[in-house]
Symmetry: C2
Subunit: 203 residues, 2 copies
């Protein structure tokens, strides 16, 4: 489920496309999916509504593109991890985990992501968008996890699917935690998370 | 931050109070905090709006009572764990974790909780409600965690606060995962989560 028109990388049109996604992310975060209007998004993006409709048919298509952009970032990160010599060490590296914690707990991300997920829980069209995107991340994470474990000779008794769920739940839940208890110590949490993720990968 | 009038345990009035919370939970989950109206809640609860206003001043007060009811349940559970002989074993017992996974991934819970958190991310009054409630759970979890670790002679290098965040993030994130990838195997996930939680407690 892609947005209607996806402009070429590096083009002027792509810049505008990204500008719409940034403005829409901010509007969804501030006012929720239903509270955000194309009029408001166009105002924040400093573009006419017609321009926005050139790229996106409706708010669902904007959400699909926002989710796709996020997912592309995570898939790229997994590709980087896969390129490194010691994939297990790379996956569980403290600095990497700390960056992940910081990303997930940043209020711009946490508020937007919780809104997308909470809308997905009640809106079948948004649910379809996130299911498809999540399946891509899961598949990629399973590949990288397998390489990491094989290189260390870890024979797992747990299923790949269950491992992925636990690792993804720990990261996803950081957004919820940032809302429930803002301002916890990122570095300290990353240290404990590192221990928990290593254990899950060896389960 | 409590609801305005909290009726006595076991009274007829308490039954009605719970009925309002059940109906409101369902309305918030289905239509979001802003989409849900007192009129709709009163219809689903089969009660007059006047009756609802007798208990609650507004929708925020209903959210406070819903969150409080959830938190009371978790605090009671921590009390039960604390009573058992081997607190570490009790905290990391597979059946207990599996029950937690099932509770967190049930669509009634996941949708409601994500909506509360996503509203808390943008609404300072809801944020204040969840911060206060979360602080109570964290404080209780830290107490029980300390007993569990001391009994096993575990000397931690990690901070209690960071451990609590990682354990709570893994559970909180299950609601997000249930939306992103509905229908994963509860038992398999509980097994991996057990390994990860044990590791976090020993960090």
């Amino acid at each position: 489920m892609e947005s209607d028109v996806k402009p070429a990388q590096g083009s002027r049109s792509q810049q505008r496309y990204e500008q719409v996604l940034d403005a829409a992310s901010e509007c969804f975060r501030r006012n929720g999916f239903h509270g955000a209007s194309i009029a408001e998004i166009s105002k924040l993006a400093r573009m006419s509504p017609g321009h926005i409709y050139h790229f996106f048919e409706n708010k669902e298509a904007i959400i699909a593109a926002i989710v796709d952009r996020k997912i592309q970032g995570w898939i790229k990160l997994l590709g980087d991890i896969e390129q490194e010599e010691d994939v297990f060490a790379s996956m569980t590296q403290l600095e990497r985990i700390e960056t992940g914690v910081a990303e997930r707990t940043a209020s711009e991300f946490a508020g937007l992501w919780l809104e997308v997920q909470s809308e997905a829980a009640r809106n079948p069209r948004i649910a379809a968008i996130v299911h498809e995107a999540d399946a891509r991340v899961r598949a990629r994470l399973i590949q990288v996890m397998r390489i990491a474990r094989e290189a260390r000779g870890i024979v797992s008794t747990a299923s790949d699917d269950a491992m992925v769920e636990v690792i993804m739940a720990s990261f996803e839940g950081l957004a919820n935690r940032a809302v429930m208890n803002p301002g916890f110590a990122t570095r300290d949490v990353a240290r404990v998370l590192q221990v928990a993720i290593r254990a899950a990968l060896e389960a």
